[in-house]
Every structure is written in C-alpha cells, then in structure tokens.
C-alpha cells in the first residue's frame, strides 16, 4: 500500500516537474520571440523615422522651389488669375431633343430665338451673319 503511494507520489513529482520545465522552456522561448519581435519593431521604427526625415528633406519647400525653377515652366500665381464661380459664363440650358438645339420645329434655317438664354444661343448669334 505504502509502496503504491510512493510510486504514485514519485510519478506525480516527475510529471509535475516535467510540466514545470515545459512551461519554463515555453516561457523562455516566448520571451526570446518577444525580444526578437521588439527588436524588429525597434528597427522598423528607426527605419520609419529615418525615412520620414528623408521624406521631409526631399519635400522641403526650399528644394521644391529649386527644382521647380529648374524643370518647370509654371509661374507664380497671380491674384488676377483667381475668379469666383459667380463670374463664370452661365451654364447652357438643358435641351431635351435635337430639335431644341436646332432652333425649333419646322425652322427653315438658322433662326435666332427671341430671348437668348443659353451659351449656345449666344454663340449662334455671333456666328450667323
């Protein structure tokens, strides 16, 4: 009886020791993995910050201006080049059919509508003598 208990106890001891060791080695392995990951994250962060610095350097206004002066033929924006949408020419009227554009049904030739409302009307006015 006692021997059986002893055997059981020793078996339990060996099993628990084995379990404890397996946990320990698993922990060590995961710790190493974590350190490797942290190291690679750090390396990535360093790379990112270096690339960010390089990006900022390449995009510095001074450099962009130098390159633009050398390779582009664009001019500096003039205030007179700006306009408001309200100042644009009016939008052409929507015509439902071709007839509408051509000047109405049964029209023998190019007739000017009585009151020109669209850009097309105005254009026709200027092109017909």
């Amino acid at each position: 009886m006692i021997r059986l208990l002893n055997i059981l106890a020793i078996t339990a001891l060996i099993l628990s020791a084995g379990f404890a060791y397996s946990i320990k080695y698993e922990t060590l392995r995961q710790h190493e993995e974590k350190q490797a990951l942290q190291e690679s994250v750090r390396a990535e962060r360093e790379t990112i910050s270096t690339l960010n610095a390089e990006w900022a350097m390449l995009n510095s206004p001074e450099r962009l201006q130098r390159l633009a002066d050398k390779y582009l033929s664009v001019q500096q924006l003039d205030v007179r080049q700006l306009a408001r949408t309200a100042d644009l020419a009016p939008r052409p009227e929507k015509h439902n059919s071709l007839e509408g554009i051509m000047g109405g049904p049964g029209a023998g030739g190019a007739t000017t509508p009585a009151n020109p409302t669209s850009l097309y009307d105005l254009m026709r006015n200027t092109t017909t003598p």
Binding site: R45, S49, A53, S60, P61, Q76
Partner: protein, 600 residues
C-alpha cells in the same frame, strides 16, 4: 563517590536481524535498513558531508557577494554612456504637421582601452578608416586605462561596416539618437538646435528640455521615441519659406546688412513665420553663436521709427483728449531747447490726424505725446508691454532699452520711435493689439486657438480706437508710404518706419533701420506682416531712396502676395461694405478712398 550525572552505559548495538515481514520496527526501521544506517559510524560521515556542502555553498555565496559588490566596471561605464545617448527628443512639427525636427538613429564608435590587445595596431587600422582623426590623440585615448572612450560619434553605416570588418577586439558600436532638421536653415531661429548629446541648446529645443523631459531621463527614465508626443509649433513651414525667400532676395537686392521678418496671427498671438537673416543651419550649428546670427526679432532691440507712431496715435485717441478729426499744426519745426523736430516729408501746413499718420509727421505725433503728458505716455507704453522684457517660449529674449530719465523731450522722440529701443516681437504684439479690437495677446510659438488666446488677453484700448487704427493703416496703404505693399485684391493696411541708426553717438541719415508692418485684411485683420531691413541701400529704380516705403514695403507686398493663398486669405473682388462703421460716422479725412480694393 557517586557521580552526579550518570551516563547510562551505551547499549551494545543490536544484532542485525532480518526485519522483512515483521513490520514491528516501523518506517524508521525500514529507512535505516534500506540505507544500512549505523548511527555510530554515520555520525562522522554526516559531519563530513555537511562540511563539504557548507564549503561549497559558502563559496557560491562569496562569489555572489563578489559579483554584487564588484560589478564589471567596463559594462557600467558603457551602460551609463548608453543612458546618456538614449536622450530621445520629441519630434517638432509645424502647424500642419510637417516635420521640422526629428531623431534618427546612427551608430557611434567606442573603445574599451582595457580590453585592447594591441593599441598601435588599433590606432593604425582605425586611422585608415577615419583619416580625419588625429592619430596622436587617438593613441593617447586608447592607451589610457579607462573603461570606455568614444572614438567617433555619429558615423555612417558604411564606416560602421568597414570598422566591423577590421575585427579589432575591444571596439564596438552604440546606436545613438541624432537630431536632424530636414528643412535646414528654415526656421532655424525658432527651432534652435540640440548638441551631440541631444541636449537642447537654443530655441524651442531648449524650451522642450525645460518641460521636464531632461530631468526625467536624468533620473533614469528612458523613453521610447514612439511614446513622445510631437511638439506642434505655430509656424507654417510654407509661409516660413516664402518669408525667408523674399527676405533673402531683399538682402541681395538692397545690399542690406541683415533682414528679419515675421508673420503674426493677431487673433491668436501665434507666430506663423519668423526669419532672421543671416541665419544658420541647425544641422551644423557652428555659426549659430556668432554675433550676427542672433534672432533679430526676439533679441535685437531697435528704435522702431515711424511704426511707433501707430502707438502714439492710438494713445492719443484712447486717452479721449483727441479725436480723429483734430488738427495738428505742422507748419513749423518744433523747438525743444537746442533740438528741432522736423518732418522727413515736410508738408508745412495744418494736418488732420489721419494726415499726420499718412505723411508720417513727427511734429504731429510729438504734439499728441505732449498733449497726453509724460506720465500717461509712460503708462500707456507700459500697458502695451513696451517697457518690460517680453518672455516667450524661446529662451532668447532681451529687455527694452528705456531712457533712464524720461522727460518731455524723451516722450516727444519716443512718440515717433526714437529714444526707446524694443524688440520687433514686442512691437508686433503691441501693433497686433491696436488692430485686433484692442486685446493685447501674448505671442506664442506653440499652436493655440483663438479661444485660448482670449483667456489671457486684457483689453488695452477700446474697440473704437482699434477701428480707427485699422482705418488709418488702410488709408496709409491707399494714399501713403505703404502703397507699395498694397497688393490689389487684398485689403492691406500698413505703416512704414525708417529709423536712423546711431553711429558714433549721432543719428546717421545714411544708415537706416527700415521696418514695415502690414495688416491684412485691414477691415478685419487676421495677419500682421513685419519686414525689417538693416541698412538697405537705395537703387536706381527706387530713385536712390532707401527708406522703408521703397525697400521694406515692396518686400512685404511680394511676401503677402505669395503667402496669402497659403494662409487662406481670400482675395476680394469687391470692396468690403462699410469696413469702418464707427469711424465712418465721424467722417474723417480720406474716408472715400478706403472703400476701394484696388490701389492704383
């Protein structure tokens, strides 16, 4: 004799008997039997084993104590060195998030002289890779008995690979944080710089250290660069570049000794751009400490000249003693003892208050200062922050130069900007308060909202006076000296100043310090632009004139034209409707001209 203590005679050992199966002697009997224990013989054996274990364990303990007390000295030195270089700094970004300063990681080469085998060979090999290192100095460093010495900080990855290939024992690399400024000299005076140990030396870099980060890392806390929040400045990198570019052009065009400029948000007190030329490259700040590289906006004190007349006018109006329709006799020079105060653009007639401003009449503003009185003049300038050192986030600042005895003559000269030297930043903050509705906002280099700025912004002049100042500044852009800065489409107002510099104790009429302050849009100012030029020379196209109207004003005009789209200032296609409602009721001189957007 009977013994007191009788020791019973030892029982003779029991004869060994087979105990199996009997079970009457219990567990101890089983153990004794299993290990053949004989108490008399085993006693010495156990003592021997105990002694052996004691010896082994005390040896281990002694070694542990040894490790704990006498730690590896080389490792410690290297550890502290790596602690020092681990001083990471937060990124600095502009108001739109563009990177202005950041840390990158670079390798540095060090040696542990105690572990070096052959110093001569090491010196020879290292010198082959770094020809710029002094061999003698290196030899002395490496033959010392130190645990740790730097050989070269901040080397390139290629150099690192080369040295690595040499395979010298006792030499290694540490990763260091190096501060880089991707935009070079742009905004150098605001950013300042950090030294090789990443300690802030000047500008915002020093300010950041004063926030407590330095103390924390000194106390052993290390930071991950990713944990640090970037410091967001009020600067706009694009506007900053425009300002610097225009000022550089101005320096070469007018052959000026120096130039400085600023873009200031009058509603929030934010400095949107600040340039002082000549400047330096914070990546290589060897020139930063030279005398001519000072931050002229924050550290230089100047007699601001006629731009100060804006303050005098505001004082006169706000005191209630004068109205905008009052007239001032400018027919003859003012006599003060042996001093005679005259006008640069002499009109020799009686001027209204707006005319005094537009013609920049010294006589007119002098009469205002005299009318208000010396004490009230002093109190007003004190209220406007002109008599105290202006302290901002930047560690660099300078106190104004105030006359030791302030009599009426001092008041008269100060009324047109001579005799009191202030920093341009100080003057800008005051003029900002004159036009923003009368609230004196403390300038800042950090991003701030208008609401936060309003919390600590005392009302220094009335809203009506502020409107009058906007009116006269707009008038000056239409009819006066600021016309060359008035870009069509932007409702600009402004005031020029051409102060004569003191040379050998006398005012020199050939050496000028020119300032120009512009506001845009003049009916509801958002930005104040400052341009200063130190000793510009007249050109044929300026008819030889070197005054601010011919030099600083066009520079400011060009700058505003380029910067306005970046600042989100919309061009106006029609003049604002009734831009100065309170002033218009008084029908001052020149009212009809301020209604137009165009300046022709």
């Amino acid at each position: 004799m009977e013994p007191i203590l009788t020791v019973p005679a030892r029982e003779p050992p029991r004869p060994r008997t087979e105990s199996s199966g009997t079970g009457d002697r219990g567990l101890s009997g089983i153990i004794a039997a299993a290990f053949h224990l004989h108490m008399d013989k085993s006693r010495t054996r156990i003592g021997f084993v105990m002694l052996a274990f004691l010896g082994v364990f005390s040896a281990i303990a002694a070694q542990l104590v040894n490790f704990a007390v006498r730690a590896d000295p080389v490792g410690t030195v290297r550890h502290s060195a790596s602690m020092e270089i681990a001083a990471v700094r937060p990124n600095i970004v502009d108001r739109n998030g563009a990177l202005l300063a950041t840390d990158i990681t670079v390798p540095s080469l060090y040696a542990e002289p105690r572990n070096l085998v052959d110093v001569d060979e090491a010196v020879e090999l290292i010198n082959a890779t770094f020809p710029d290192l002094d061999a003698r100095e290196l030899y002395e460093k490496l033959s010392s008995n130190k645990g740790f010495v730097w050989i070269k900080r901040e080397i390139t990855p290629e150099q690192q690979a080369q040295v690595h290939r040499l395979g010298i024992p006792g030499i290694g690399f540490l990763s260091e944080q190096k501060r880089v400024y991707p935009n070079g000299p742009e905004a150098a005076h605001v950013l300042g710089f950090a030294n090789i140990d990443n300690v802030g030396i000047a500008g915002m870099e020093k300010f950041i250290d004063s926030l407590g980060l330095r103390d924390l890392s000194g106390a052993g806390f290390t930071f991950n660069p990713a944990d640090l929040k970037p410091v967001q400045l009020s600067l706009d990198l694009r506007v900053q570049h425009v300002l610097r570019d225009e000022l550089q052009k101005a320096i070469s065009k007018f052959k000026a000794k120096a130039a400085a400029g600023m873009v200031y948000d009058v509603t929030t007190g934010e400095v949107v751009a600040l340039t002082s030329l000549p400047d330096f490259d914070p990546n290589n700040p060897v020139e930063a400490l030279r005398d001519d590289r000072i931050n002229r906006i924050c550290v230089g004190t100047y007699e601001m000249g006629s731009t100060f007349k804006a303050l005098t006018l505001a004082m006169a109006l706000d005191s209630g003693r004068f109205t905008i329709n009052d007239t001032f006799d400018a027919r003859n020079n003012l006599q003060y003892g042996r001093f005679s105060i005259g006008d640069y653009h002499g009109t020799h007639r009686v001027l209204t208050m707006p005319e005094v401003f537009v013609h920049s009449s010294n006589i007119g503003v002098a009469r205002m200062a005299v009318g208000v009185g010396v004490e009230a003049h002093k109190a007003f300038l004190k209220k406007m922050g002109q008599l105290d050192r202006m302290v901002t986030e930047l560690p660099e600042s300078a106190p104004p130069q105030i006359p030791s005895r302030w009599g009426e003559l001092n008041s008269v000269t100060i009324s047109y900007g001579h005799g009191l030297a202030v920093t341009p930043l100080q003057a800008v903050a005051a003029v900002g308060a004159l036009v923003n509705g009368g609230r004196l906002i403390h300038p800042t280099f950090l991003k701030r909202s208008a609401d936060d700025a309003a919390k600590d912004a005392p009302q220094v002049i009335s809203d009506t006076t502020s409107e009058a100042m906007r009116y006269v500044m707009r008038l000056n852009a239409v009819k006066g000296s600021a016309a060359r800065a008035a870009i069509n489409g932007f409702y600009v107002g402004g005031k020029t100043g051409s102060a004569e510099k003191v040379v050998n104790g006398k005012y020199s009429d050939s050496r000028l310090f020119n300032t120009f302050m512009a506001i845009a849009p003049a009916d509801r100012p958002k930005y104040l632009f400052l341009v200063t030029l130190d000793e510009p020379q007249g050109l044929p196209e300026t008819h030889g004139y070197a005054t601010a109207g011919w030099t600083a004003a066009p520079v400011a005009g060009a700058m505003i034209e380029r910067a306005a789209p970046l600042l989100g200032l919309p061009p106006m296609f029609e003049p604002p409707v009734n831009p100065f409602p309170q002033i218009a009721k008084l029908k001052p001189w020149g009212l009809e001209t301020t209604g137009s957007v165009r300046v022709d």
